[in-house]
Symmetry: C2
Subunit: 196 residues, 2 copies
DNA sequence: ATGTGTAAGCGACAATTGCCTATTAATTTT
DNA sequence: AAAATTAATAGGCAATTGTCGCTTACACAT
């Protein structure tokens, strides 16, 4: 049993020291990613840039991948809420979410390269999943359809598509791509919906 | 530029020494995964179990994740071809592919646990993608629909769903799950198809 | 304000990683 | 069959990782 609990997952901590340390670590990583690639950044560097001890790092995250995941999830969630996105008002939400994912991938391209190789699925997909899950209550589905599963698959489909788009050399605009993704994924929801 | 070429990718090598070494490394990893978790296995152990020098490992794979990816891709592809699966005869192929993914995840459960935490997306999804791409030729699609994108999204959707299923404590049978996945993903293909 | 809990800092540790330079052994080419 | 090519081995290297035990400093409740 490697790590049953991921310290950074429980964001419920109110201790200002913890919040401060985690913020400094995330900010540190963001800064460092501007200079070099993720794989070339050591935990020591992250700690130094954050003016924290290396041991303190391990107090919060089991390894640098965990920090990357936490950071990505936070930044992506931030981008989404900054846009006031949610699935409560449903019209165009699918396209907006797809656009959010595309934009985030492109935006974080401040990093030198190979962002697509980084393990971002684990951070972005759950956030997208949550949004679908949140909006699921408003929409009755056919018998036998599992809304949870729907949310999961849709989130993976969107991320996969956005990821492929981002890796494409001469890519179309994020807006165009979001339109394509919407058109492609929408049928999943339509066919699951209880029409009457 | 981390690694522009992944040595193991070019399977075009005919040198028996290379083939032998890679096979032994993969088999070694399979065996070790029966005893302990991936994260707790060192490159030295893999090399020892394979009766190869540690330097030889790095001659073939940049790190143990690359070996895991290569091994997973090979084993999954093997399972698929063993079942004679392809998208050329299209009827039920979608369900069969979904079943293949579910079965592979469940089968590899010989590993102690946390298989879901392993980076398997990078190995399984491309294989599934290839199958869709292969079968795409037979099916004309509406104007503006990109078959490549379709393949990517479908592969991600299926893997995501199967992955969620596998992580569920009291899960339904793989066959049942494959049915659900088929029903969910099929509309994507139907709506993209050129009906007449 | 004063203690109690807990985070942060510090130094050190064995283990692992990724890479390097020969040197030897095997395949492939000629 | 000899030569050229290339994989495998051996040993060693600095750097990094993940983890300790211990001490100091801060936060919150009393």
């Amino acid at each position: 049993m490697a790590q049953l609990i991921q310290p950074a997952d429980v964001g419920e901590s109110t201790d200002p020291r913890i919040l401060r340390s985690r913020r400094m670590l995330m900010d540190s990583l963001v800064r460092l990613l501007g200079n070099k690639e993720f794989e070339d950044i050591s935990v020591q560097e992250i700690a130094d840039e954050a003016t924290l001890n290396r041991a303190t790092f391990y107090l919060h995250y089991p390894d640098k991948n965990a920090l990357l995941r936490a950071m990505t999830a936070e930044r992506f969630r931030c981008l989404i809420t900054r846009r006031g996105l949610s699935f409560t008002n449903c019209d165009g939400a699918l396209r907006a979410i797809a656009l959010g994912v595309c934009d985030y991938l492109a935006e974080t391209a401040g990093c030198p390269s190979q962002l697509a190789k980084m393990p971002l699925e684990g951070s972005i997909i759950p956030v997208v999943e949550d949004m679908f899950r949140e909006g699921a209550g408003n929409h009755p589905v056919k018998a036998g359809v599992d809304p949870e599963l729907l949310a999961t698959s849709a989130a993976w489909a969107i991320f996969g598509a956005a990821s492929r788009w981002y890796q494409t050399p001469d890519r179309i605009s994020a807006e165009e791509m979001a339109g394509k993704i919407e058109a492609m994924v929408k049928p999943v929801f339509l066919s699951a919906a209880e029409h009457f």
